[in-house]
Amino acid sequence: MNGRKGMVLAVLMAIFLSGTFAQAAEPIKIGAILSVTGPASFLGGPEARTLEMLVAETNKKGGVMGRQVQLIIKDSGASPEKAFSFAKQLIDEDKVFAIIGPSTSGESMKIKSVAEEGKTILMSCAAAEAIVNPVAKYVFKTPQSDKDAILKIFQQMKKMKITKIGVLSSNTGFGGAGKGQIEKLAPQHGITIVANEVYDKAASDLTAEVTKIKAANVQAIVNWSIEPAQAIVIKNARQIGLKIPIFQSHGFGNIKYVEAAGEAAEGVLFPAGRLLVADVLPKKDPQRELLLRYKKDYMSFCSGEECSTFGGHAYDAYIILLKGIETAKSTDKEAVRTAIENLKGVVGTGGIFNFSPTDHNGLGIDAFEMLTVKKGKFAIL
C-alpha cells in the first residue's frame, strides 16, 4: 500500500518538476477563441489571420523576453458553449498565459466568469459595454464602446441640426446594445427617436423597414449593425427615394460593405477608428505609422485581402498583451494584469489606450473620427 502511494507521489513529482524545468525554455502560450466559422466569421476570420501574422512577426524577431510565442486558436463558431469549453481547456489544460477573444459579445459574457475563476487575462474583441462594466479583474476589451460612437454621432447631429431620427438595428448583441444606448443617450442630447425598427441579422431585403421609417418623417436614419444588412439598408433607403442623411455604426468599417452598396453608400456618415482612413491621416497623427504598417503587413500576409477594423481589435489585444509583459518584465499573470491595468498611451489601431482599474477598455470618444464615403472610398468628414 505504502509502496503504491509512494509511486504515485513520485510520478506526480516528476510531472511537476518536468513542468518547472521546462518553463525556462517553453514558449509563452496565448490562447485565442475566435469564431472563424459560423455566423460571426466575418469577425473571427480577420482576427485569426491578424494574430497569426503578429505571432509570426514576434517569433521572427526572437520572441518576447527571449521566449517564443505559441498561439493556440480555437474556432468557436460563435457558440457560447464551445467558447466555454475552450476557455476551460485553454486555462486548465494548456495553461495559457492569456486568452484573446472571443469575437462576439455573447461568448465574451459567458466566459467572463471563467477567466475570473481561472485568473487568466481575457482580451475580448467584442464591443458590448457589459464586458467591462461591471469591471472584472482579468477581463479587458479592445473595441471602442458603442457609447462613444453614439456620442460622436450625436455631436455630428448637433452640428447638422438634426433632432428627429429613425433608428434601425439588427437583432444581434451589437445591434441590441447600440439600440439600447441610443435610446438612453438620445434624450440627453435633445434628440427624439420617432421610429425604431429591429430586423433580422440575415435579412436580405429591408424595403419594408425603411418604408416604415420614411412614413415617420424623420431627419436622419441611424442604423446599428455589423452584418451585410447595413449595406442593404442604405440601398433600400435610396431606392425608395429617401434622401436624408444616413448614419451607420462603426461596424460599417469594412470597405466591402461600401463596394456591396455601390453608389448608395455615397455620403453615408459613420464614426470609426482611424484604420480605415490611414492613408489620408495628417502626417503628425500618432496612429498613422502603426496603421499604415498594419495595412501593409496584413495585405501581404493575406495575399491581397484588405484589413478591417475587426482584425484591428485582435491586433490591439495582442500588442497590449506584449506591452503588458514588457512593462511587467515578467510573464506572471498577476503582474502583467496589473501592468495592463496601468498602461497609458498605448497606440493601437482602434485609438490610444489609457487603461485604469475602473476602465478596462481604455478608449474614449476621441478614438473615433467621423467618416463618410466619397467615390467608393472612406474619407474624413
Partner: protein, 251 residues
C-alpha cells in the same frame, strides 16, 4: 449560393453574361455529379435516407464553400443601372434588378412549363415522378431522369442565385435559408407544379413583408416556416394541389 459565388468569382475574369452562363453550367455539372456519386447507385433508398443525405450534402457544400471562398460577402454588379437607380412605377420605386428577377423568373417558369408539357423528355420525367416502375417498363431510363431533374433544378437554382445576388449579396451560408423557403413555397404550391409555386412564392413574400407591421421584424423568417407547418398540418397537398395528386407522390 454555389451559382452566385461562382458567378462572382468568374465575373472578375470574363464579362457578366458569360460569367453567369458559366456559373450555371458549372453548378449544373456539380448537381449531376452529386446525383451520380451520392444518389444514383442507392438501391431503393428510403425517403428518410434521402432526406438525411441531402441535409448532409447541403452542410458539406456550405462548409466547402467556406473553405474555398472564405467568410466574406460578395455581390455581382447590377445588370442594368446601379444600386440607387430605380424606376418609378405609379409612385412605387422599383429597382431595375427586381424587374430582371421577375422577368427571368417568368421566363424560367414558361420554359419549364413548355419542357414538361411539350417535349418528350419532359413528359418522360413526369411519368417517372408519377410511377417510377411503370415508366421503367415503358423503356424510360428512370436513373437518367433523376440525374436530369437534379441538373435542371441545380441550373435553375444557380440562375436564381446569380440574378438575386446583386440585391441580397451572397455569402457561404446564404443557401440554407433559401432552401427552406424554397421548400415551403414548393409545398405551398403543391409539389411538381411550377406555376402554382410562383403564385405561392408571391403569397409567401407578401405575407412576410406585411408581417413586420404586426410582429417584430426579427420574427419575419419564422413566418414562412410557420406557414409551412400550417400547410403541412392542414393540407399537405398544397393550396393549389389536389389531394389525388398528393397521394400519387406518397412515399
Amino acid at each position: 449560393m454555389l451559382g452566385g459565388m461562382t458567378a462572382v468569382t468568374l465575373s472578375r475574369f470574363v464579362p457578366l453574361p458569360l460569367a453567369i452562363l458559366a456559373a450555371v453550367v458549372i453548378t449544373t455539372i456539380v448537381g449531376a455529379i452529386i446525383e451520380i456519386v451520392f444518389i444514383r447507385w442507392l438501391h431503393k433508398p428510403s425517403v428518410l435516407r434521402m432526406v438525411i443525405i441531402t441535409i448532409g450534402l447541403s452542410i458539406l457544400i456550405r462548409e466547402t464553400a467556406l473553405h474555398i471562398w472564405g467568410e466574406s460577402v460578395r455581390a455581382l454588379p447590377y445588370f442594368t443601372g446601379t444600386s440607387v437607380s430605380s424606376i418609378n412605377l405609379a409612385g412605387v420605386y422599383i429597382s431595375s434588378q427586381i424587374l430582371w428577377v421577375v422577368g427571368i423568373g417568368a421566363l424560367v417558369v414558361a420554359a419549364l412549363g413548355a419542357f414538361f408539357n411539350l417535349t418528350m423528355l419532359g413528359r418522360q420525367m413526369r411519368a417517372c415522378s408519377a410511377n417510377r416502375d411503370a415508366a421503367r417498363l415503358c423503356g424510360i431510363d428512370a436513373g437518367n431522369m433523376v440525374t436530369l431533374s437534379f441538373m435542371v433544378s441545380a441550373a435553375i437554382g444557380a440562375l436564381g442565385g446569380c440574378i438575386i445576388c446583386p440585391i441580397t449579396y451572397v455569402q457561404y451560408d446564404s443557401g440554407t435559408p433559401l432552401a427552406i423557403k424554397g421548400f415551403t413555397v414548393a409545398i405551398l404550391g403543391g409539389l411538381g407544379n411550377s406555376t402554382a409555386a410562383v403564385g405561392a412564392g408571391m403569397i409567401l413574400g407578401i405575407l412576410e413583408s406585411f408581417s413586420i407591421w404586426v410582429l417584430p421584424t426579427a420574427y419575419k423568417e419564422a413566418i414562412s416556416i410557420a406557414i409551412l407547418l400550417i400547410i403541412l398540418f392542414v393540407k399537405p397537398s398544397g393550396i393549389f394541389g389536389s389531394a389525388e395528386a398528393a397521394r400519387l407522390k406518397e412515399f
